[in-house]
Assembly symmetry: C2
Homo-oligomer: 258 residues x 2
């Protein structure tokens, strides 16, 4: 163990999930400082090694990697149950071994910021407990971009992850979120796996009050991306124009009014 | 009114609040795409015209502005009561007149994303109501960077803005947020005006349960920036090392455990 630990850098990824037809220049999508740090890190923790290697190839095209991609250490975080992550399982301190030995370490997600709506938070908590400095490099998160673009309340908002899939618990959870939104005047945000986007949207329109406002935000940085907000009653009479993607994660937000 | 409205672009600002000694190259801190869009916009809505002009000078140094700064339209949003913003007042549709007439329009905050913890959300809501397309350009928000760097629960978190200043309502609100955090297993995030940072931190340590985890995040992109997390009991015995700035906004987060 070194006298002085390395730093755990939280490296932002783009929001495009590697979709085809993207700009070659990663500096169009990420601050250059994040690219610069990413280019020199030799140890990575990630959600998915394949997408991390794809990201590092995009980095290399802007700022050459300090070492060849094949020589980097890229370790996947233990995977929680698919689609319903659980941040409570403590990660083995082993994952932080490079930082404890004095080397800087990168943590990266498939899209947006690590440790937000992904399994990385437990690693960050372990870093704090081990007195490893944690530095979050600025980058975008689709969640908070959805808050901004929604026009719903940005002074108070909550991200609650996934809602249940089975119809009855789902309806109950949607009504609970609406009650919380009304009580605290707080925007409530959810995510869904892409192929269930349409089903969640229909459930929101079925179970929310007519005046409650609902926002859908998808593919924010892509040509086909959009953010649209309407009341439940407005959506019910005018949802023909909404082309909900079944291949991109969407963020759904609601704000109860009155 | 044009047949086709312009787009309302939500333009990210840096998180540095124009602190001295920053990199000259704005592309170090923001994605180039945001800088490119900012350089061509001729109509702006903002929190503060002075800081917006300072931002646009930094843009101009990377990508020349389409028109001289003096010829741009820069309009300040109506200001809510200092330090306790209220997003509910509807903005005059007049503010969106350039977009209704077919020109693109930028919305920008003093730091981070517009319409998140600033008065911009009502303008975005009015844009949706007027069928003006809303595009959020990717950029960082200190709030969600604090979530990432905290190591607290990033699967469920709420930003609640300011807490009351007077001691008794403040203590009650802190206890309420802890109860909400415990009930929903949800990280709760607050902001405070810089000169009250130390007072809020002491109030958190005084009123929260010993095992509750508390994170402080300040000046994230600055040399003196930091994010640190500990339990209340840990902080009580080891807060000498925490140099809370009184000139930078800080974000405070709590997560009740057990």
């Amino acid at each position: 163990m070194s006298d002085r630990p390395g730093t755990l850098y939280l490296v932002p990824n783009t929001l495009d999930l590697g979709e085809a037809g993207l700009p070659d220049d990663l500096a169009e999508l990420l601050p250059r400082r994040a690219i610069r740090v990413a280019a020199r890190l030799e140890h990575w923790l990630c959600e998915n090694a394949r997408t991390t290697r794809a990201f590092l190839k995009r980095v290399d095209a802007v700022i050459p990697l300090a070492r060849p991609l094949q020589q980097l250490s890229i370790v996947e975080l233990p995977r929680p149950a698919k689609g319903r992550p659980d941040a409570t399982a403590p990660p083995p301190l082993q994952l932080l071994a490079p930082a404890l030995a004095g080397a800087d370490l990168g943590l990266i997600s498939d899209a947006g910021l690590p440790a937000v709506a992904d399994p990385g938070a437990a690693v960050v908590a372990a870093a704090h407990a081990a007195s490893i400095p944690v530095v979050a490099l600025p980058g975008a998160s689709a969640i908070v971009l959805a808050v901004a673009a929604s026009g719903l309340d940005g002074q108070s908002f909550a991200f609650v992850g996934y809602v249940p899939v089975a119809p009855e618990p789902r309806a109950a959870r949607i009504r609970e979120l609406e009650a919380i939104s009304r009580r605290h005047r707080q925007t409530q945000l959810m995510i869904e796996t892409p192929y269930r986007n349409a089903a969640l949207f229909e459930a929101l329109l079925a179970h929310l009050q007519p005046a409650t406002r609902v926002c859908v935000s998808a593919g924010l940085t892509l040509e086909r991306g959009f953010t649209r907000t309407n009341s439940v009653v407005g959506w019910r009479s005018d949802r023909a124009g909404l082309a909900l993607p079944n291949d991109l994660p969407a963020i759904f937000a609601l704000l109860a009014t009155g």
